[in-house]
Every structure is written in structure tokens, then in C-alpha cells.
């Protein structure tokens, strides 16, 4: 087996995927989880781009198009995730406030 630069890129993509996965599983904070998902997505995109340059002769545009589409999808879902995370934290914050208030009045 010949170890070409393409393999390095591909493996890097997979490694990014795994690193993201690790972050998603092991990190406790929501923001980090969301970033981890983005790292995973980047890994997949890198892998796809590597495929486009697979045999090095002719560059395949289809994976490029897939990456572009994937990026837009990923942006959209990241935005939703961030907005939702904001709500979750906001709620936790409000709840703390409520508890404090209840304690103060009690």
C-alpha cells in the first residue's frame, strides 16, 4: 500500500471526527458540545474533499457540492443549537433567581 498525501488528509478528517465525538461525549458544557459537533462536521467535510481528489487525475466536483451543502446545513443547525443553548442557560439562570427570591422572602 502506498501512503499518499490523500491518505493523510483523509485520516486527519477521520481523526477530527473522532476528536469531535470525544468532545461531544466527554464535555459537560453545552457550548463545548456544540463546538464538538462542528469539529465533527469539519472532519467529515475534510474527508469528503479528500475523496474529491481521490485518484488525483480529475477532480470530482460532486463532493465539493456536497461539502458546500453540508456547510450550510451545519451553519443552520449550529445556529439553532446555539439559540436553544441560550434558552436552556437562560432558564437555569431564571430558576436560580427564582430560588434566591423565594429564599429571601421565606
Amino acid at each position: 500500500m502506498i501512503f499518499s498525501p490523500g491518505h493523510v488528509y483523509g485520516l486527519t478528517g477521520l481523526l477530527l471526527f473522532i476528536v469531535g465525538l470525544a468532545g461531544l461525549i466527554l464535555c459537560a458544557q453545552l457550548l463545548r458540545k456544540i463546538l464538538a459537533v462542528n469539529i465533527m462536521a469539519s472532519g467529515v467535510f475534510l474527508f469528503l474533499v479528500t475523496i474529491a481528489h481521490g485518484n488525483g487525475v480529475l477532480i470530482d466536483p460532486v463532493p465539493h457540492a456536497m461539502v458546500l451543502t453540508g456547510i450550510v446545513v451545519s451553519v443552520s443547525s449550529t445556529a439553532v443549537a446555539l439559540a436553544l443553548a441560550g434558552r436552556v442557560q437562560d432558564m437555569a439562570h431564571c430558576r436560580d433567581l427564582l430560588k434566591k427570591k423565594a429564599r429571601g422572602e421565606g
Partner: protein, 491 residues
Amino acid sequence: MIRLLLQGDCWLILPVILPLLGALLSFLLKKQPRLPGVLGALVTFFASAALAWKLVSHGGGRYYLGGWQPPLGISLRADGPAVLMVLMTAVTGLAVSVYAGGYFQSRINKRGEEQRHLAQERSFWPLWLLLWAALNGMFLSADIFNMYVTLELVALSSVGLTALSGKPASQVAAMRYLLVSLLGSLSFLLGVAFLYKVHGSLDLLAIGAALSLAPAVVMAMVLISVGLMLKTALFPFHFWLPPAHANALAPVSAILSGLVINGAWYLFFRFWQGVLPLVGEGAATLLAVLGGVAIVWGAYQAFCQQRLKMLVAYSTVAQIGYLFIIFPLMEMGPEQGAAAVFYFVISHSCAKAAMFLAAGTLFLQVGHDRISDLDGVRQVLPKTTFAFALGGLSLMGLPPTGGFIAKYMYLSQAVSQERWWLVAVIVAGSCLAAVYICRAVAHILSPRLVAVAGPVVVAASMEWSALALALVAMLLGFVGPLVLHLIEVAG
């Protein structure tokens, strides 16, 4: 235009376009989102029904979007299972839409917080119609990258719908659901990349025809399967489902449990249908074991729940198991296996949606859904309680319901292939389902007069739509040949 409708293949694309259009319109008409919403649902229903009719009368086919043949372009595929799923979505979706109209109106009328409920409804219709379009797109798609895009559409809109209720619990559940969904989607996408690397095509049929057990393909199948299992909430991955489904608004719960779960499973099935002959007994058995554990564990959890909606949500966890125990049975009888599992899917969809709708009505009327305090609610909402009970019958697999037919087909497959452990699982599942459903039904149908006093606040359309859906689940017990005829139409 009319000539086009009559002759062309545009039937295939209509169930995707129409809800998209409806979503845009209901988003634009923010003062009156219900009108375009319900109208969109109605039109989509008829388009789906027309597609089914077209399929039965003219046979299945493919539709090349933009006129580009695969592997270059994307194609849609209409065959029995795909159209059956579209039809199921149409029936359940229409009932849910009618219900939702009454639901939001009742909520807007009931409390002082009109603004909040108005805002909820304003977002509900576009989200729901987008979800519907995405599901139809997913069922009809024959292109694996396109499947990824529809999966993401489904995931995002489901998350949006889950979070819609605004309750703190629903926000947390939605967040978890979103992360799990994204993980599933990315896993799926990586699998797609692997498949493309090997086959140089995104067309599922072309890939399926050339499938081998090369390492890259194995990894692709693992990634895709795990991704979809996460989204289907098969046993070890089921943790996100109950809070998300139980804390959502009533129509949303019905949509999530009745339709969305089936969407991800459908893709799983499509992928496995092709590889099943290759992978041998082991992998299929593994799936079935997970399914079996899901059946037992979900049922046990359902039995332990104090809240009606949580009970129904855990029952979904259990019923998902049935979708996976079919795989070992399909090795020896692929057609019969597919028929059985699709029958199960459609009857579960109707029954479960009806139960969630009914539970939502009870919640709205009584103000809580603690099972032990629901005695006597039958007097106030007879149709709703009846719908709940009828849906429960279908889940238990008792006649005369679609669930009975599905269970019959499952059992007869398992018995004739002499897979006794599967027989045991199916039987145990039915017994456990009977236990937890009877527990709930005994309370809500109880003749005791601990009546939940107060005037009826729910709209009539809520009661009738849930009942209609439950009656469809019952009707499925009598239209077996029709449904099987539809399933068997080739692509």
C-alpha cells in the same frame, strides 16, 4: 397544466412541493397561519392519496429531477413501501393538522396568555409543514446524499417543534434531541462519504446492486446504521426520546412518535434491505436482540410511569423494538417480512398518534396527566377516551385492529421459521403492552364518578380527529389485502 398532471410523473414530486409551499405561506400570513396550514395539509393529503392511486393503477417508477439520470442527478423512487409511508404520513398528518387547529384555538380561548399561544401556533404550522415535506422527500428519495439533507430538515424541524411548548423541560429535551440528531446525521454523512468513495455514486439502487463487503462498505454500513439507530431511538440510544416526546405540545408528540421515528427507521430499512443477504445471521440477530431488549425495557418503563404522556412515550420506545426484530425473519422470507413490518409501522403510526392526541386532549381538559387522578374523565370526554382505548388495543395487538394483523404476521413468520426466542419476545411484548395499557385505560375508562368537573373546554375537532385516527387503526384490521397489494408494487 392539466395534461401535465394527468400524464406526467409529477405526482411523485407534489407531496414534497405542496407542504413546502404551505409552509412558506403560513410563515408569511402570520396573522392567519392556520388557514394556509390546514389548507396545505389538506392539499398534501390529496396529493399523497393521488400518488398512491397512481401507483396502484400504473405501477411504480422513478422520477429524474431536472431530467438528469443518476448517477449525475438525483432521482425519486416510487415503490410500494415508499408510497405506503407517504400515505401513512398523509393520513396521520391530516388528522394531526385538524387536531392542531382545534388545539391552538382551545388554548388561545382558555387562558389569559393569548399572545404566547398565538406565537406558538404561528411557528407550529411552518415547522410542521416543512417536517411533512421533508418526510415525504425522505421516503421518496433514492439518493443517499439527498437523504442526508432531508434527515437534517426532519431533525431541525422536529427539534423546533419539541421546543415549541416553551416549558423548561421541553427546552432541555429539545437540546438533547438536537445534539443526538446532529450526531446521527454526521455519522450518516460520513457513511455516505465512505459509500461514495467506494462506488462513485450516490444512487441507492446503483449502490445496492454493486454492494460488497469491502472494509469501507462495512464501515459505511456501521456508521449509517448507528446514525439512524440514534435517530430511531433503538434501545441503548432511546434515552432522549421520552422527555422529548412527552413534554412537547400534544400535536407535536403525535407527530414525533407517529411519524418522525418511522422516517429514520425507513431509511435504516432501505439500507439493510440490500445488505441483509450479505451480512449473514449475526448482524441481523444483534439488531433483533436490541429490539427485544427495547420491547421489554420500554414496556417496563412505561408501566412505571405516573404520567400518561410519559407512558405513551415509553410505549414508543417499546414499539420501536418491533421494527428491528423483523430483520432475522427477513432473511428467509424477505417479502413477508417487509409486509409484516410495514403493516406494523402504519398501524403503530395511527394508533400511537391517536393515543398522543387523546392524551393531549385529556391534559388540556383536566390540567394534568397523572394517571391515577384521571378517573371519571370518560364522562366528560367519551370520544377521546374511546380513541385512547382503541389505540391501546392496536398496540396490544388485539382484534379488530391493524396491530392484530401485524402481530399475526410477525408471529406466523417467527413460528414457521421456528425462531422460538422471537416468539417469546413478541408474546412477552404483547403481554407487557397489555399490562401498561390496561393500567392507564382502567383509570380513564373507570366508571367511578370522581368526575373532573368543569365545562368542556376542548374543541370538537380535537375529539373527532383523535377518534378518526383510532378508527383508521381499527380499519387497518380489515384492509390487509389492499395494503399488501400496495406494498408489493415494485419500484
